[in-house]
């Protein structure tokens, strides 16, 4: 009887361990790759809007609004992409500097500023005012730069963006 109970418990524990390993946190390698992909999506979305604004007339519905939405979707999760341990100490190639975690409060503040600028950008995009959107694209770019200057290693220290 006791033996049977033990076997059941062992079986349950085994099943649980399998289940939890399936749900285990992604490795740092996957996490950093995904972070880079998503940040690149955001860069691409901002570029698409900026490029469209160079033209005489803009395709709001097919280009600007969807890309503004991409920025909004991505930006709201950005601060979750930097869990502790996903910096250079992970051994994975990343351009995130250790200062992201050392000065976490400031990093978070800059992240929230960026989210505010993205929200504004989405609003301005909805109004379809090209002049105002140009100003807001610039404001968002400044928010990108504010964080990159202090928390991302400079371009010239890199092999490539991959």
């Amino acid at each position: 009887m006791l033996f049977l109970l033990f076997r059941r418990l062992a079986g349950a524990a085994f099943v649980l361990s399998i289940a939890s390993s399936l749900q285990a946190a992604p490795s740092n390698k996957d996490l950093i790759k995904s972070r880079q992909d998503k940040l690149r999506d955001m860069g691409g979305a901002l570029k698409a809007i900026d490029d469209e604004l160079k033209k005489r007339s803009q395709d709001w519905d097919n280009t600007i609004l969807p890309n503004a939405q991409t920025l909004k979707d991505r930006s709201s999760y950005l601060l979750n992409w930097f869990p502790k341990g996903s910096g250079p100490e992970s051994g994975v190639k990343t351009y995130a500097l250790p200062s992201v975690w050392q000065k976490a409060d400031d990093f978070t503040r800059l992240g929230k500023t960026m989210q505010g600028e993205v929200a504004k950008l989405a609003q301005v995009a909805a109004s379809k005012d090209a002049g105002a959107l140009k100003t807001q694209v610039f404001a968002l770019g400044k928010a990108c730069k504010a964080c990159h200057d202090d928390y991302r290693s400079p371009d010239y220290e890199k092999e490539n963006d991959e």
Binding site: R40, G44, K47, G141, Y156, E159
Partner: protein
Amino acid sequence: MTTAEIMGEQAGVSGTARVWDLPIRLMHWALVLSIAVCWWTGMHNELEYHLYSGYAVLWIVLMRLYWGFAGSSTARFVNFVRGPRAVFAYACTLPRRDTPHVHGHNALGAISVLAMLGLVLAVVVLGLFAVDVDGLYSGPLSSYVSFRGGRHIAHLHYKWFNVLLWVIGLHLAAVVFYYIHKRHNLIFPMISGRRIAAAGGEVLEAAPLWRFLLGAVIASVLVWMVSIGFYF
């Protein structure tokens, strides 16, 4: 003290001849200054000013290419670009200390000129397509490439600039070599336009000012068109 006296004193020869016209000298020193500004602003992520200094470099390179066909005699490619045999023959005279001044670029220096001009042009063109990671000051032609492609180009822009720095270093080393080994001051003629020379030697056939102004207008229009990414 006149130019002739300064230079004559150095080499014990009196008499000078014009070798570099004013446009060449202005373009040379403006290029030095513009590349220095590009270098500093690039390394400090001050890309707004990096763009302006980059346009200055583009303008100067376009003008130098134009002057290589329409400019004064020593500026024209046809007058100083030589084949491998002439380059080799000149290179063989390098160890000798008694070689006379060459009127304009020598056969070996011509390779240096072409290499630097080509590299500067390549780095500028890569910069035109480079994407700024912040999306603030991407090159004016970056809308013709993808974000990822443009980021790749930004890295190439940096790598080829490093190659250019080595060639500039070689150019400076050559100037020092000529000064120390051959007692030829190459810097002063690039400032004054005159070199020491015996009377009755080669002369500079200077191109008229209007031809420079014509080129300046054409180069300015081209740089302006590039700067707006050909979105008219």
